[in-house]
Structure formats: C-alpha cells, structure tokens
C-alpha cells in the first residue's frame, strides 16, 4: 500500500497560501506526531538502549541476530509473505482479467464476490479457514469419515494454513491492482495480435502478460507487505509451531514483557517492509525512465 503515490494536484485557482491553511493542517499533524511519529521515534530509540541504564547499546540487535529464533521468525515471515504474494497474484490474475475485459452481466456479480470478503473482516475469514483446515475440521472430518486417511492431514498450525488464510485475506487487494493495470492495456493490441494469427495462448504470453507487469509487481508488493504485517491470521492458523515476527512481537510485549526486544523485532519487520517497498519504487522509477527514453528516441 505504501507504493501508491498521490496523483499530482490539478491546477487550482491561484490563491496565496495563508496562515489559515496551516491552521487547518495543524490537527492532522498534531495527531500524527503524537500517536505516530513520536511513538515510532521512542520505539526505535528503545531498541538501541539498555533497559536499566538507558545507555546506548546494540545488545538487543546482537541477540536478534544470534539467538537463532528471531532470524528463523524473520525467515518464516519472509517465506510466508513471498508465498502469499505469489499465490495472490496467480489466483487474482484470471479474476482481474475477467473484471477488466468482460462486459457481461456477470461482471458485477464477480466483482461483488471478489471484493465482498474484504468487508467481512479478518476474523471471520480466518475462523472460516480454521474450521475448514483444523485437525478435526471440515476437510479432515470428511476424509476420515470416507476412510481415505487414518489420521488427520496436517492442514493447520503450519505454513500451509497461514498462506491459505492470508491469501484469502489479501486477494481482493491483489485483484484490484491487477484489474487497474489490465484495464490500462489497449484492447486493440490484443485484437491486432489475434488478427495477425496469434493464438489466444500466445496473445496472453506475448501481449497481455508483459504489458501487465506493472500491475503484477504492485500486486506482489501489496500482498507481500500486507502478509508480512498481518497478525490475527498467523496467530490463529499458525499456532505455536509457526510463529512469525508479528506474533513474536505480540509475545514479547504481552508474555515476556521484554519491550526492548519487541522494539527490535518491530524495527526488523519495518526494515524488511521498507526494503521491499523501496525495491518496488525503484523498479517503477526505472521502468518509467526506460519508457521515456524509448519515447525520446522515437521522436
């Protein structure tokens, strides 16, 4: 979500900036300073200070990199987020293509179905997956009643369950960004390719996919960042055996009461997300630079 930039403001009636403009801006700035900027600053500061003496120290970071558990948590978080990003994009693509191109009356239905889960809240959907995937849930019950398996398949409390749950949570956002991107592709290109004898498959491979790369990238980015920062779904579907940074942070705050270490983990999560967003922004910048170069050559 961090990659969405503000549209350039259109030209407005020229009005000299006045103090009143700053006055109306003040409340937002005040709220964000008090409940965002300062807390973030204090938290980052805490991660570098000793709990007793308040002297600056890297000890908490050393612990993060050496205890073996935190890095494992970071790895699980990254792994989970990558898998979610991939599956959201793969699953979202056909729906997005349909939404972008179809003019049938089913479009509204598919649109509603695709986006409705977003309104249901994370808990409902996670709870749904919980009763489907649990050891004694829907699927395992059915399999065992049919005598297909003797003991429940390990469908919950692991990477699989968390990825399934999060894919479901994030999918609407992936679909939206893919749809926007595919809508931006000129349908005439597809038609032209087909008339020149390209099969449907090669149209998809050589025209649509390459042109929708920006949408794919933004879908990957949104899914990655949303998955990495999710709390409830990994907590409920991952259990004790699949802990990610978000659930570990919660545990440090509300069980071990080790605030400084929680701060370190929070910073690690933040850095990971900012890195990914940065890569996305750089990609976007390079692409537009390439495009303007090309256009420059042509003219």
């Amino acid at each position: 979500m961090s990659t969405i930039a503000l549209a350039a403001p259109a030209v407005m009636p020229a009005a000299p900036a006045r103090t009143s403009a700053y006055v109306v801006l003040a409340p937002s700035c005040l709220v964000l300073t008090m409940f965002f900027a300062l807390p973030m600053g204090v938290m980052i500061g805490m991660s570098f200070t000793d709990g007793e003496t308040l002297a600056p120290t890297f000890a908490h970071y050393q612990r993060f990199f050496s205890d073996g558990l935190s890095l494992a948590g970071l790895y699980r978080t990254a792994m989970m987020s990558i898998l979610v990003a991939l599956s959201v994009t793969v699953l979202g693509y056909p729906i997005a293509y349909f939404l972008a191109r179809s003019r049938s009356r089913w479009r509204a239905v598919v649109f509603a179905l695709a986006l409705a889960p977003e309104l249901a809240g994370v808990v409902l959907r996670t709870y749904g997956w919980l009763i489907i995937l649990e050891d004694r849930g829907f699927i395992n019950d059915a399999l065992m009643n049919l005598g297909l398996v003797a003991s429940p398949l390990p469908l919950s409390k692991n990477l699989f369950a968390v990825v399934v749950g999060l894919t479901h949570v994030v999918l609407p956002f992936g679909i939206l960004s893919l749809t926007t991107s595919i809508q931006g592709i000129d349908p005439n290109l597809e038609r032209a390719a087909q008339m020149l004898g390209a099969s449907r498959l090669s149209v998809v491979r050589h025209v649509i996919l390459p042109l929708s790369v920006p949408g794919i990238v933004s879908s990957l980015l949104i899914s990655f960042t949303m998955a990495a920062s999710a709390y409830a779904t990994p907590a409920l579907l991952g259990g004790a055996r699949f802990k990610v940074l978000a659930t570990m942070i919660y545990e440090q705050v509300l069980f071990y009461i080790d605030w400084r270490f929680a701060a370190v983990m929070a910073v690690a999560l933040l850095v990971m997300m900012l890195t990914v967003s940065f890569l996305g922004i750089r990609y976007e910048a390079r692409r537009s630079a390439r495009r303007s170069n090309r256009e420059g050559e042509r003219s």
């Binding site: 205890d67 073996g68 558990l69 050891d135 004694r136 003991s151 390990p154 409390k157 259990g239 004790a240 055996r241 802990k243 545990e251 705050v253 509300l254 069980f255 071990y256 009461i257 080790d258």
Partner: protein, 348 residues
Amino acid sequence: MNVNRCLPLCLVLALGEAPGPAFAETLIVNSYGGPYESIIEERIIKPFEEKSGIDVVYDAVGSAAQDYAKIKATKGNPGFDVGVMTASQSLQGCKEGLLEKLDAAAIPNLGKLAPRLSEVAGPCGAVHEVQYMSLLYRTDKLTSPPTSWSSLLAPELKGKIILPTFQNIMAVFLLEIMSVARGGDMIDNVGPGFTAMAELARQSIGFEQSSAILESYIKDGTVWAMPFWNGRAQLLIDQGVPVDYVRPKEGTIPLIATLNVPVGAENKQAAMAFIDFFLEKSRQEAWVTGYKVGSARIDIDIPDDARKRQITTEADLKSLKLPDLARVADKLGEWGERWERDVVSQAK
C-alpha cells in the same frame, strides 16, 4: 434524502453511553473464560452482587501472564480492580511494586488461610484456590492407569498426547517435574527436563495454549493422555467424560491461584470486599465444590470424596513440590527461548 436527516440521530445513538445502571458501584474483575467463567459467575459473583450492591463487570480476556503484562504496561493501572492470577505474578508484582499489599485489616478472611500457602504467594496475593498438575487419561483407551509422568512416553500414546504452549504455566511445571524425574532439578539443572520435553514433543500432536482447547482434545478422544489441572480434570469426570486423573509417583507441582489488586485500581475498597467475600468459609466451600479445586482454608466443610482428591490440608501441600516461583519468573525468558529451540522444533 431522509437518511441525511436521520444520520445525526444515529450518531447520537451510537455515541451515547451504553444503557446500564450508572448509579451502582462497579468492580471490574479480570479472569478466565470457559467453564471458569460460568462457575465463578454463579457461585461467587452473583451472590456478591446481591450482598454488596456492587456491580461486577467480568472480563475473561487473557492468561495470568498476559494480565500481568497489561499491569506492567500500565504501571499498575490496567483497568481492572481484581485480577485472577497465580502466585508467580503475585510475587513478581509485589517486587516491582505493581500490586497492592493485602492485609488482614482490610480482608479479615486472609487470616483464616493456611500460613504455608499464604507465604508462597507473598503479601500481594490472596490464595483463593489450589490445584495441582495431574496426569489426565482416557479410561476407555488406556488399559491400566498411568503411574508415572514417563507413561506419557509410552509407544501406545504416540500421536495421542497434547502439550500446553510455553505461555501456559503448565508447560513450565511439566518441564520441571520431568527434570526432577530425570535426575535434574527445578531451577538450575533443567537440562534433563528439556530432553524429556523434546521426546514428549515428538510424541505429541502439537501445542495449545488454553485449557479449554486442550480439554476439547481429550473430550473427543483425539488425545488419550495429557497433563491437566486436577480441578478441571474433575469437572470432566463429572460431565461423564470417560477420563480419570492421577498424581504420578514422581510427585507434582501445585498451581496456587491468587486474587490480586493492581496498585492503580480505581475501586480498591470494593476489590478488598470482593476478595474477602471470595475467601469466606461458605464461598470457599461453594467454589471448592463448584470448580472442583482445593482451598487454602483448612476449616471448610466439604464432602469427603471431594477432600480426598483435592489439596485441602497442610499435609497435602507438603507432599507437593514447590519451585522457587520468583526464580522461575526470572528464568522464563531464557527457558522460553530454549523451549522454542529444543521442544517446539521437535513436534511433527
């Protein structure tokens, strides 16, 4: 656009205070959910409300450790007046000055508790129940009752046991008792305990945090044996579940539950009154027979069969192992990491 007109009305409705008796004093009690909730509601809270005219708001959120974290984050003003925690948090909270010291002047019934038990919880905790970690098993699945904690490792129980997560103090107790069973001790030499827990983890179907979820596994027969608080175990027997529990030969560790008042509680007087009420002889009898636990009051009259299986006497208590809870609390961080590394990683 009628909606436009009714919107302000909706806003007023939404923002207005929730309906409820604003005149009565309210006491916020933070405790546990599940069966605990319905029993405390019926046997303690309702009678207390009737007697005192104080309105009790019951909050079932969080484990004892999580409640304590909230107390700490809010420097003793977590928003509840009475917390139901355990002796560990009572000691820790006293040391850190986050829990109110309780005395017999404000809570006369405190004087009626067995001194040895009261001492365990320190000056900030009022012991309102005593349980112990028992070994619970399915009578219809196991041919003979287990006698030792090591029975959990029997081949026939492969994939038929479940373990508590480290956030549940039961995990720590099991670790310690396994350590003792394997020749270690309860604080400084817990290595043997971790080795044993790793073996148990390989044997188990996984970890769950709350007692309510743990017991659901033995209820439906997925799990055949597991460690469990004996009071809750007795409740299962009374419900007709084919289970029974034993105190294995290596001994076990008691769970000493306490009522605590955070230093910043808004309603201390009512909190003290509530604690005193809970410790009254008749209420302790009601609690002991309702939640099937032991009491720190030795003067209570309860049926013999209840007494037989609970901790109600000093002699009962002496037969239990009691780690130094304050030192255990200091070790939690270290053990938690080791648990993740050595135990959780071993589960299938």
